[in-house]
Symmetry: C2
Subunit: 169 residues, 2 copies
């Protein structure tokens, strides 16, 4: 590693965050000719789960549902998806890629795959398998640990308020 002389000392959470920043920075560059400049992971997910509801995207990508509303609003505005009420459960809204959305999402999927292929090219198959296995194990472990209710939407009556930092200044 040419940089980050003490990278090894960082927590795995921080290393993962840095990796994702570097990754999306490269991805954005590679897709700057598209009609959309973000939400790539959501479109990637929709490519595999076209027609799922909003909560499904939130659960799988660890995104808050109120943020998801704005994302879908934007994707509708640029003509990438439609939002259709499920007739069998009218609470749910299906998110469906449009023709245009499908076409551009194909490019996004290609970019994701190309970057993955490129950065894994010098890693042995065995190490790739181990890496992916451990990555998956870590996420699963973290889900079992006590966390804020950010991704799990548990009802918390009388939940503790965070102490205001401004009180101390």
């Amino acid at each position: 590693m040419p940089t980050n002389t003490n990278y090894a000392k960082l927590s795995v959470g921080t290393k993962a965050l840095i990796l994702s920043k570097l990754y999306y920075s490269v991805l954005s560059k590679s897709l700057e000719n598209l009609d959309i400049e973000r939400y790539y992971s959501i479109l990637f997910f929709l490519n595999e789960h076209n027609g799922c509801n909003q909560q499904c995207i939130c659960n799988n990508l660890a995104i808050d549902k109120t943020a998801m509303v704005k994302v879908i609003d934007h994707l509708i505005k640029v003509g990438f998806v439609d939002r259709n009420v499920n007739p069998d459960d009218r609470r749910e809204h299906f998110i469906v890629l449009t023709k245009k959305g499908q076409k551009q999402t194909a490019e996004i999927v290609k970019s994701f795959h190309a970057i993955d292929a490129e950065i894994f090219s010098s890693v042995s198959k065995e190490d790739q398998a181990t890496f992916n296995k451990v990555l998956c194990q870590l996420s699963s472990k973290l889900k079992e640990l006590p966390a804020t209710d950010l991704f799990f939407n548990y009802k918390k009556t009388g939940r503790k308020k965070k102490s205001a930092v401004s009180d101390k200044v």
Copy 2:
């Protein structure tokens, strides 16, 4: 409950982002009794590099320098760090943990280590080593990857290679 039925299909960048979100959720929960609610990774870094300048933190944690100004302003406001001009190069500002900052940062470091220990507890030493090695390789590769030079993008040739941001520390 989120199921991530197709987690395996996500790109490594997306998986890393999800891991970091889960990680910081758990970390925040474990540190909710502290006087600060975020910037844990920066304090963790300062614990090892007390007295470094702002650019050094930016380089090592992949944070924009204009964002860093606000972060340091906040850390000063809550009394965690001081910002001291380097007399030998008056452009540089050294960031130094205060007594209070040191004390609370010790808790933060403990939490980081505890979470890492916990989630890696069921992973063999060999797999841990492989995982960390690959994680490091991937970040390294991404930094070297010329953003506009991806092979799938045949139409856009003749672009000048943009050198990766210099993070030398």
